[in-house]
């Protein structure tokens, strides 16, 4: 119909005979006598309306596969707006910190931020954002080839001989990522691998390799980590301490708990037990030192105790303990220091709510 109308229009109604119209359209034409031009234009108009009104959408029987349910809550709208601004500004340092804070709070990005977050080009930043993309982010990444970095990767089994070769011959970053991946599949095997070459590692590498142990951390790691607490390097000891504190029922956690109990048991102002065990377990007779140093040490110990322990001790609830700490200006934390320090994903402690109020600035 359109073709014959078009041909007649191009050639001119004087040269080509006006096409015979569909009888149903013909009946709609006005009864008054029409010129050939009027008739052609009216038919063309009717054809256009008919096409538009009669559009039949394509059918797709199978509904598309929906994203799986989320396992963690989305961040607040306010946090989402801040993140959107940061993503638009492209400040990598702030973004990395924001992603870390989200991860610590056990939250994920709001879905509207996902297309921008998935388009992040920087490798390190991608790594920081990976855990906070949520199920929706992983689902969405399947549809865009450039976003495949966020997709679910098939866990490939390691060939032990190949792993051993990479461990002894690979570059540091290769060895680090090997250890990380191996920890996911076989935490004990990975630990044995690390222990086998522990003495030969450089101090700065030892500290980083210990960080890789955070994956798949369990009670089996306590003996090794305790031995690491006697390391010559303070950096290495500092890496091992939070891991030990995270192991439920570890001797280290018990030591820290005992120390904090001692502090909270005393009347205000707190008194630090000066002859106390160091992280390594040796006894250390220390002098009080400057007030700032004492505060730092209190903070350090405080953070090494699981937040669950903040619950009633001598009828003192978590909130009263934390308000005492607020009054003493130990920390100005954004969230529970224990949870942040221990890397707890989601805490049930009373701290975060208390800290939403602005805290007094130390004078």
């Amino acid at each position: 119909m359109t073709d014959s109308l078009l041909r007649a229009a191009l050639l001119g109604t004087g040269r080509a005979a006006p096409p015979p119209a569909d009888p149903r359209l013909e009946s709609l034409l006005p009864e008054a006598s029409l010129t050939a031009e009027q008739r052609l234009l009216l038919l063309a108009g009717m054809d256009a309306v008919r096409r538009r009104a009669g559009y039949r959408p394509a059918q797709r029987a199978q509904p598309p596969e929906a994203a799986p349910d989320e396992t963690r809550p989305a961040c607040s709208k306010i946090a989402g707006r801040l993140l959107a601004e940061l993503l638009a500004a492209g400040n990598d340092d702030l973004l990395a910190e924001a992603a870390e804070l989200l991860e610590d709070a056990g939250q994920r990005l709001r879905p509207e931020l996902l297309p921008t977050a998935l388009a992040i080009p920087d490798e390190d930043l991608r790594k920081a954002f990976l855990p906070v993309l949520g199920e929706r982010g992983k689902w969405l990444s399947r549809f865009h080839p450039a976003w495949s970095w966020a997709g679910v990767k098939e866990a490939t089994a390691f060939d032990p001989a190949e792993a051993k070769r990479l461990w002894t011959e690979g570059s540091f970053s290769e060895r680090f990522s090997l250890l990380q991946r191996l920890r996911v599949q076989d935490p004990a095997g990975a630990r044995d691998l690390l222990a086998s070459s522990w003495k030969e590692e450089k101090a700065e590498h030892r500290a980083e390799l210990i960080d890789a142990m955070a994956e798949g951390l369990g009670a089996g790691d306590e003996t090794f980590l305790e031995s690491v607490l006697d390391d010559r390097s303070g950096q290495v000891r500092a890496s091992a301490a939070p891991l030990l504190a995270r192991i439920e029922g570890s001797a280290f956690a018990a030591r820290m708990q005992a120390r904090v109990d001692e502090m909270l048991g005393s009347s205000l102002p707190f008194e630090i037990p000066f002859a106390s065990k160091t992280a390594g377990g040796q006894r250390r007779s220390s002098t009080p030192g400057s007030p700032a140093r004492v505060t730092r040490r209190r903070g350090g110990m405080q953070r090494r105790v699981s937040c669950r322990r903040w619950n009633p001790r001598k009828q003192r609830s978590a909130s009263s303990s934390s308000s005492r700490i607020h009054r003493n200006e130990w920390f100005l934390p954004m969230h529970c220091p224990s949870c942040a320090f221990l890397g707890a994903r989601r805490s049930r402690c009373a701290w975060p709510r208390r800290c939403e109020r602005p805290l007094p600035t130390p004078t």
Binding site: R51, Y55, Q59, A66, K77, P111, E112, L114, L140, H144
Partner: protein
């Protein structure tokens, strides 16, 4: 519900699909998560330009055309 198979489409509950134009199709897909959502848009006879979507209790404005 929006979906993407090389090109972006929306599909209604009975299976009829419309091809999408517009600049925020990824955003539309992201906020829907493959679930049914309410969409407002302009239909030009061939393509749908989505202008807004309400998902999970939030309305998001979409850029139909630039």
């Amino acid at each position: 519900m929006p979906f993407c198979e090389e090109k972006h489409f929306v599909r209604d509950q009975r299976g009829a699909t419309l091809p999408l134009a517009g600049f925020d199709n990824w955003l539309l897909l992201a906020v829907s998560g493959g679930q049914p959502v309410d969409i407002a848009g302009e239909w030009n006879g061939r393509l749908l330009f989505p202008l807004g979507v309400a998902a999970e209790g939030t309305f998001h404005a979409l850029r139909g055309e630039e």
